[in-house]
Amino acid sequence: MQDLAFLFSYLLQGLGVTIGVTIIALSFGFVLGIGMALLRVYGNKLASTLAAIYSTVIRALPVVLVIFILYFGISRIVDLSPFLSGAFALGFASTAYQSEIFRGAILSVPQGQMIAARALGMSRWKSIRYIILPQAIRIAIPAWSNEAAIVLKDSSLVYVIGVPEMLRRAEYVSARTLEPFIAFGVAALIYFILTFTTNRGLDYLERRYKLQM
């Protein structure tokens, strides 16, 4: 029984890793995603096309495959821990999805906003930065919350490159205790609680910052 308690605390430690991977991947995807969305909407033809190709290709692939390819690719260039490589790989994948989300949101901002900003004498960049983007981000909140929940769940996939997040630990616990159902079941439960609280939190964000037009 003592053993069990120790093993399950081991599992719980994976929670931190899971959350860490998720936050890094989401933030990475956020910054790059907005950047790519801006390129797609406001960039020159070349930049815009490249961004479109990136988005289309990545979104056509299974996330596991993207993680594998990027992990192998990243390891050849730079020596990072599996944790970071995995987080960044997941981040690159999320970038593609987030760029679509933000692109849609930017395009939803009424055209008149840009016109009015330019008429005030704001440069294109200032208009994007102070008028378009703030509104686009708020428009994107529902879709982004969805993506956040997905990244949280997909963080389990970095298991394949050996990151000691919850799934890998559950596997270890399962092997040690020979109780796979309980091991994986508890892991599932923890994921469920995580997803549930994250959704609640994001719902609150959505309600609070909803843009009334």
């Binding site: 596991v64 690719g73 109780e179 159902f181 994921y191 549930f196």
Partner: protein, 226 residues
């Protein structure tokens, strides 16, 4: 380029076998998902207190946990309770139930989008709830859910990839095995990636053509989030 062609010659047959398995998984998962998801959505909207609660529990659990974890619980965990599945069966069941939960949400949204006025009018004509659902609500809801459903269908091709983790010989699984022979994982994963891209491309084209044929003016819904 010589070596690329040689490589392709070597691996393509196996990879194509894997692709067939992938497609098999996709179709079966979607079918199971439909068979489970649509009723779940109906129960969710029209059911009594207890059935509704059960439907919600099913939907929230399968949408709130990672697919991989579900797969492991089914394949590694259930034998503990006396339920053993073969790899393929576990894959089908898990993918199917998982898809069912997401499809249930799409259908629920579509049913609600049809509007309660339709049900009211149907009942006023003297139809039972079931008749109203069958002849008035469902036909409209299914048309409304089509865009989201077809997105799910196309995405399913990607989702099936995780089954390689329980050694199912799908495209991803085959790529891993072949990569292990000569340790040229990267090359094989890239070839697999190209195949996935082609699959998704073809599936997207197919879906667009079908959508256009089934398009009914006036029956549209806001594009699903995701």
């Amino acid at each position: 380029m010589e070596s690329l062609l040689t490589l392709l010659q070597e691996v393509l047959p196996d990879l194509l076998q894997g692709t067939l398995v992938t497609l098999q998984l996709t179709v079966v998962a979607l079918a199971i998902g439909l068979a489970v998801g649509l009723p779940a959505a109906l129960v969710r909207v029209y059911g009594g207190r207890v059935p509704r609660w059960l439907a919600v529990a099913y939907i929230e659990i399968f949408r709130g946990t990672p697919l991989v974890v579900q797969l492991f619980v089914v394949y590694y965990g259930l034998p503990d309770l006396g339920i053993t599945f073969s790899r393929m069966a576990a894959a089908f069941v898990t993918l199917g139930l998982n898809s069912g939960a997401y499809q249930a949400e799409y259908f629920r949204g579509a049913i609600q989008a049809v509007g309660s006025g339709q049900m009211t009018a149907a009942r006023a004509l003297g139809m039972t709830q079931w008749q109203a659902i069958r002849y008035i609500i469902l036909p409209q809801a299914i048309k409304l859910a089509l865009p989201a459903w077809s997105n799910e269908a196309i995405s399913m091709i990607k989702y099936t990839a995780v089954v390689f983790l329980i050694a199912v010989p799908d495209l991803m699984g085959k790529a891993k095995i072949l990569g292990g022979r000569n340790f040229n994982y990267m090359e094989l994963y890239i070839i697999a990636a190209v195949i996935y891209i082609l699959l998704v491309f073809i599936a997207t084209r197919l879906v667009r053509t079908i959508e256009r044929k089934l398009y009914t003016p006036g029956l549209e819904m806001e594009a699903e989030r995701h």
